[in-house]
Amino acid sequence: MTLVESSAAELLGQLGAGETSSREITQACLDRTESHDAQVGAFLRVDADAALAQADAIDKRRAAGETLGPLAGLPVAVKDLLCQQGEPTTCASRMLENFRPPYDSTVVAKLREADAVLLGRTNMDEFAMGGSTENSAFQPTRNPWDLKRSPGGSSGGAAACVAAGMAPLSIGTDTGGSIRQPSAFCGVVGMKPTYGRVSRFGLVAFASSLDQVGPIAGSVTDTALLLDAIAGHCERDSTSLDVAKPNYLQDIDKPLDGLRLGVVTEHFGKGLDPEVESAVRAAIAAYEGQGAEIVELSLPHSKHAVATYYVIAPCEASSNLARYDGAHYGYRTEERAMLAQLQADRKAAQEAGDEQALDDIDTALVRMYRQSRSEAIGPEVKRRIMLGAYALSAGYYDAYYLKALKVRRLIRQDFDQAFEKVDLIIGPTTAAPAPELGQFDNDPLGMYLLDLYTVSANLAGLPAMSLPCGQSKSGLPIGLQLHAPPLEEARLLRAARMFEQSGAWETKRCEL
């Protein structure tokens, strides 16, 4: 087994035993990226020298017998949405192409504390809006299993780099399924923790009440390892939960006794790909084989989840992205040309004697805002800003935003009631395997439906994860999704590990 094929847990073992070094592992990841990322496009930036320097420093400290952090020497790739001090943090947007934050996000700081090697910044949909990583301003990411296909989104780069063996661990963010959906499409494991479990400080906000940072890895144990390093209370995030963090690795291999698994009727309706359905049913059967009790249940409001999500998320996004106005952060339009055009517009209106047109012409300030934003923000992000600004505007607020908040509460109530009867909910992560690139170019609503099974967890603030449970005939990964009650990440991980250990499906690496 080569270094890039080994799990993070195995690599830690080898590092501890002195069989390999962080430099060797890091170099192997860099080589793999060097040879394959031109095709895949998972990374926006890799700083090989910096990564190797970090690796060397950790190797040196290990040699000196120092106590090291839990990820000591392991390379971790970070989605380009999390601030890293001094490093461009672009959110895959022209708007932030030159933004270098003067601070680390809490998650990046925790990775440093854990002595991880920060490998590079992964591609994503612009500002995390999208389900295919085609909405990056810089490059699309391709699914390593089939380069004609999308890796999913918005953490497509984060999932693809793990699937392609370029990094054993990576950090993604999940606002409506952005960790779980690309994990399912790329055949890796990904978790969205409970809202507030992982600090959002330094995570460039898309929809604050839904965003959550989470781990992506090649196995359940590796996922637990990474979650353990990044979870915990943070005083710089008011929405961070002030509760003790359990050790996620401690009991991960102990199967859960008397497990009651909820199967949601609504998850197996129209639109579910038959191959996905049979893989998920097989997974459920595997749990039954391990003594789990299967309980059929209904989440009656889940059918409104996508609509609810596509009101709340754009509302918050329209607000969160208002700061990118050309005055304070990021891109500003070329002012001289803008002012010349403005003058020409005024003159034309004056000469035409068109009072109305003259009155409608922007002030220089408004024109600067308008032009900076229109030039630097991509179409999908614009679409959502427009949606959100509309839904929040006077006269529509009650009909859209407030209504959505009410439905959101009902969705959470459905889950609360369900979890009185079951320990976990099991179902598909996505309705179908990875779509082809370009499939949604003229079909934004079709792309929004990719979130059908994943958005509920964000609306309800619950932890949920996706793990591989099969493959389509054409060789595309299929994801199994597990939902747990709030703060039950440990339960989620143990249950996922049970499936992994059952031998019902052996997680495969893709060939490149």
Partner: protein, 491 residues
């Protein structure tokens, strides 16, 4: 004649050390952009964390203004684009303010208007924006932004439209500022922008029109922004009332027939000016800030703040009138000087035992001195206990009132107590036998004066007082006069 109807929105900067959602300093006057951090300038990825001291100060103010304290309050985003608003929204409170429904009593000691309770609709917390500096001198029209003030905690106190004149509006603002400075929740420095006022003004004009409500027609409401002194508020209201009356006579336009207008006050020109409809039309798209958890305020927390609540200006005025026998006018003068002056007065009155005399010396000589020296009572050269000793002597007649002013000045110069000052001036107690002897001596030497007095011209004694003072400067002129009259009467 019409009635002017006024409601005021007062923005007060709370006296916290750090900003509302970050640890940056709120001190005034630093170099531009030196008191900023990623949080207060809304840098991508940054998150606000609430300042609990600001919440406590808001509760304290609420209690002092008889406001209800909300058990549950939350933060909302008020969204608009402006260069000095770095996040594109201001964190404020929309439908669930931290305090609501209270009142402030105003009273004019000169009696220009009847005492009244001005209702307060709400007082909510919000963060301040930054400052735009227009660099027009360079001729380029450049605008520079200073974000030092961004995120500074403000309390917006919104009154009901209960005020009826510019004088009432000024009294309300004066009393509000006094109360806030007593509490110490704000320094209310208007030059530094710690207190800013917007006024909503319209007129109720008597009319026999059948549509008139209670026989009155209301003109459209105008919001006057950008007033940075109480004088400006008064002038703007007076100007606006006349302008609205003129406009009503011309157009007959009533409330509801045109949207609320925003006008700016041009202090130099002394006029309000309409702002362009583009500048005033706003849809703030308020919604709850998802980065900040709602705030639950328990009764215990309110009680804790209540415990630190001090005696308020109105109560002190009442106490000075009821317990110290002062006129409302004197009480008002003392209270309006601020709490340290009140404490100074109470010490002087209590230790001297002469409330009225203490008030006279304080409101006249002491305040005059403070004004001419441009200092506060804290820097005043005569400490309260020394002034008390001085007042006590004057009150007891141990220090002739004719020479009290000299002693006061000496105390002021040297910082000495009354005894030392009197000694330095050679003022000693003159006993009755000495006065008696002096009277006899001078009466004997001036038979004409005696004759004049016997003829009914008592003021003739005045001619002797100068001579008496020359012989003994410590003599009390009143006592001398009295003794002379008694001696003449006895024959």
């Amino acid at each position: 004649m019409y009635t002017t109807v006024i409601g005021l929105e007062v923005h007060v900067q709370l006296a916290t050390k750090s900003k509302l959602f970050c640890g940056c300093s709120t001190a005034y006057g630093a170099e531009p952009n030196t008191q900023t951090c990623p949080v207060c300038i809304g840098m991508p990825g940054s998150l606000p964390v609430m300042n609990e001291e600001a919440v406590a100060l808001a509760i304290e103010t609420g209690l002092a203004l008889n406001l209800q304290i909300a058990g549950f309050t939350k933060w909302d985003r008020k969204q608009y684009f402006y260069p000095d608003l770095p996040k594109g929204y201001q964190i404020s409170q929309y439908d669930l303010p931290i305090t609501h429904d209270g009142w402030l009593e105003i009273e004019d000691p000169k009696g220009a208007f009847e005492p009244k309770k001005v209702r307060i609709l709400r007082a909510h917390l919000e963060e301040d924006a930054g400052k735009s500096l227009h660099d027009e001198a360079a001729g380029k029209g450049d605008t520079l932004i200073d974000l030092n003030r961004t995120g500074t905690p403000l309390l917006e106190i919104v009154s009901e439209p209960d005020l009826r004149s510019a004088a009432e509006a000024k009294a309300y603002l004066t009393e509000l500022r006094l109360l806030l400075t007593y509490l110490g929740v704000s320094d209310c420095n208007m030059q530094e922008g710690s207190l800013r006022v917007d006024a909503n003004v319209n007129l109720h004009i008597p009319s026999d029109d059948p549509d008139a409500k209670d026989g009155k027609i209301a003109t459209p409401i105008v919001e006057i922004k950008n007033m940075n002194s109480f004088r400006a508020v008064e002038r703007a209201i007076e100007y606006e009332a006349e302008r609205q009356h003129r406009e009503w006579k011309e157009t007959g336009r009533r409330l509801g027939q045109s949207p609320k207008q925003t006008r700016g006050w041009d202090d130099a020109a002394g006029v309000t000016r309409a702002q362009r409809s583009k500048e005033e039309s706003s849809d703030y798209r308020y919604f709850p800030d998802p980065d900040l958890a709602p705030v639950a305020i328990t009764a215990a927390e309110v009680d804790k703040v209540r415990e630190r609540l001090i005696e308020l200006p109105a109560a002190i005025r009442q106490r000075l009138v009821a317990d110290y026998g002062l006129s409302l006018y004197d009480a008002d003068v003392i209270v309006n000087q601020g709490r340290p002056t009140v404490d100074y007065y109470l010490t002087v009155a209590d230790q001297s035992g002469d409330n009225k005399l203490a008030a006279n010396w304080l409101t006249q000589d002491v305040l005059r001195t403070l004004k001419s020296q441009e200092i506060g009572i804290e820097q005043f050269a005569i400490p309260a206990d020394r002034l008390a000793g001085f007042v006590k002597k004057v009150s007891a007649g141990d220090l002739p009132s004719s020479r009290a002013r000299e002693v006061f000045d000496a105390m002021l110069d040297s910082g000495a107590d009354a005894d030392a000052a009197m000694e330095s001036l050679g003022i000693t107690q003159v006993d009755d036998s000495e006065i008696d002897a002096l009277c006899q001596e001078l009466l004997a030497a001036n038979p004409k004066v005696v004759a004049d007095v016997q003829g009914g011209k008592q003021q003739a004694i005045g001619a002797l007082i100068g001579q008496a003072k020359k012989k003994n400067p410590n003599i009390d002129p009143g006592k001398f006069r009295q003794t002379c009259l008694e001696l003449i009467a006895k024959g």
